[in-house]
């Protein structure tokens, strides 16, 4: 998360330039909500040792499905449920292909990425640019009137409040509950989990699907809340960003959420700066990736590792080690 620290300085400066800090912060938080659902969902899946490379596509497909169902039924809740179901189904295919058929998770995930992207365009055609229902605003009384914090945190809607809850619940679940410990063991060292009576197979299925459902909710949050409506290529590249943020958040809910907010802030700054620096604002959204790559390179240098080993607390900060069994298949016999 050193990237986070380095990147946040110019971002905060940028935000300061932009002004209206409380409203802007609120916009950032709201805008990051869908990404939070998606990244936390993928974090859960990857903690179980499964990579869902279809993220970019399933995000699109679930966004479209969410909007479509909400449009047809008039119910936002049904839309969210549909989106979750769609994305969960895609995740199920990946889980099945990896666990039962021992196929390469990357290959299947990538094919599903393309398939879902195209499918979302095909099935979403009738909904393009149609106005549809949106998540109704829900201000929290009393808290909404707090200066600064009120505008920033409590004048949103259920979807955004949900994103706060999801991060907190994920943290509590991973580090304070028994099933959370078992989940981490499955992704870390399935043999060890198996030796302790955990059904690796069942855990992998369950959490891949659960993670997929969360991704779906993220998709619905896009089309029913943040980027209203639907059009082709609507949520461009957010799936790939999400995958990157999971890595950079070190598979830890708080850091992952921070990554989402930083990314959101970057987007807002870019948008606000567009009239001032037209060229720059086109390039700013591209920045996260190369910065992330560079940081990965630096962190992998042996000198850095040695530094981390000597200072334990620093190591936790720098550590971005994936669950050791990520992407592998496990023979239970």
């Amino acid at each position: 998360m050193m990237t986070g620290l380095f990147a946040s300085v110019p971002i905060i400066i940028g935000l300061a330039i932009v002004g209206d800090l409380d409203v802007t912060t609120g916009t950032v938080i709201a805008g990051a909500a869908p990404l939070i659902y998606a990244t936390i969902g993928e974090t859960i899946t990857e903690k179980a040792g499964v990579v869902n490379l279809s993220l970019d596509g399933s995000l699109l497909l679930s966004a479209m499905a969410g909007f479509g169902i909400a449009f047809l039924s008039g119910s936002v809740i049904l839309g969210f449920l549909a989106a979750a179901a769609v994305s969960a189904l895609v995740a199920l295919i990946i889980a099945y292909a990896g666990i039962e058929l021992r196929l390469n998770q990357i290959a299947v995930g990538f094919v599903l990425f393309l398939l879902c992207t195209r499918l979302s365009a095909l099935l979403g055609a009738p909904f393009v640019r149609e106005p549809g229902p949106a998540v109704p605003k829900l201000e929290i009384p009393l808290l909404a009137d707090i200066p600064f914090l009120g505008k920033a945190l409590f004048q949103h809607n259920l979807s955004i409040y949900g994103s706060f809850v999801v991060v907190l619940v994920a943290y509590w679940f991973f580090y304070r509950t028994r099933p959370g410990l078992e989940l981490q063991a499955v992704g870390e060292r399935p043999e060890s989990a198996f030796a302790r009576g955990v059904s690796v197979r069942r855990v992998r299925y369950f959490y891949t699907i659960l993670g997929g459902a969360l991704v779906g909710i993220g998709g619905a949050a896009f089309s029913l809340d943040q980027k209203f409506g639907w059009s082709e290529g609507h949520v461009r590249n957010f799936g790939w960003i999400a995958l990157a943020i999971v890595i950079f958040g070190g598979w830890h809910p708080f850091r992952v959420a921070l990554g989402c907010y930083l990314f959101g802030a970057l987007q807002v700054v870019a948008l606000k700066l567009q009239p001032v620096f037209p060229g720059l604002s086109q390039v700013l959204p591209i920045l996260p990736f190369p910065t992330m790559i560079l940081t990965l390179v630096v962190i992998n240098r042996p000198g850095f590792r040695a530094l981390g080993d000597r200072f334990g607390s620093l190591r936790k900060f720098l550590a971005s080690e994936p669950p050791a069994a990520l992407g592998t298949n496990f023979e239970q016999q």
Binding site: L53, I93, A97, E100, L101, R102, L103, I106, A107, V108, F110, V111, L112, L114, L115, C116, T117, R118, L119, A121, L122, L123, G124, A125, E232, N237, W240, L243, A244, I247, P278, G279, Q282, V283, P285, I286, F289, P290, M292, I293, L296, V297, N300
Partner: protein, 355 residues
Amino acid sequence: MNADRRRTELRGMLFAVAGATVVVAFLLLALGANPWEAFKLLYEGSFGSMAKLSATLLVWVPLVIASASLVITYNTGLWNIGVEGQIVMGAIFATWAARTIPGPGWVVIVAGIIAGILGGVFWGLLAGVLKTHGGVNEIFGGLGLFFVSLGLTTYLVIGPWSREGVASTSGTDLFERDVWFPRIGSLDVSWLSLVLAVVAIAGVYLLMRGTMFGLKLKAIGNSMSSSARLGVASNRYMLGAFAVAGGLAGLAGTTQVMAFHHKLVPSVSGGFGFLGILVVLLAGFRAAPVAPLALFFAALSVGASQLELRLELDSSVGGVIQGTLVLFVLMAAGWQRRRADLRAAAREAQAGSAQ
């Protein structure tokens, strides 16, 4: 033994294709289209006339070249998802050549081809070095570089290379007419592109089957440790694979700007890199089936626009068919292998208890 195995493989593939066709047919029905008519239109839209055929070939060229590039990296055991970025880089370098190199048309064309290849080599090597010396997984590094290349393109198109007075993302100025790849008669497709495409895939076929370089790549892809024992320097050859594959991808980018768009646009890579991954997965990583499979996929992409016109189906239906097909084939292959493994295990257990 080998012939037997290939027959079961073929049978599995046929089942997969049948299954995919059925699913697609149902999907079409659900969308209110007649599947039979849709398939007919797909065919007509891609092969129905010379103009249509030329459109299909225009898609086939970059797809084949990109797929050829991927054959190299796949056989080396690398997931070069960054191929899209290498296409873009090739396009950028070729555009630079087209705009800067003076001289008669054919000189600029040759310069463009060389520049495009170099651009792809550069971008491929970068992804490779990130992996071998930076420890960055090639999927992630490749994707990151792809986004960087997109950013670079956008910057160039609305910045230094923008059209006179208009800074729009619709692209740069069109290239000089004599710098366009020469066409076949009145058709849009260029014979030079076709030649390059054929040379590319034939070249990769020969490279993989007939050279030590190809053999070493294959060894690394199959078993890094055993090939290291036999003296094959993994890092060096992996970088070599990235370089050659990147160069080919760069060539695909060159054809895109010099034979198709005739200018640089942000969407220059056209998704051919990603689609190429599907083609290569379907081809079982072998070079031989790539050309016909790429033609089939190109036909689906182009023919799908007919479906949009006549049946009011979004043209992405072509992509849906492609994706469904590959998914089914992958699953069928996995299912067959799993069944074979389970049968072998059952035989072992039987043999054991019979003692």
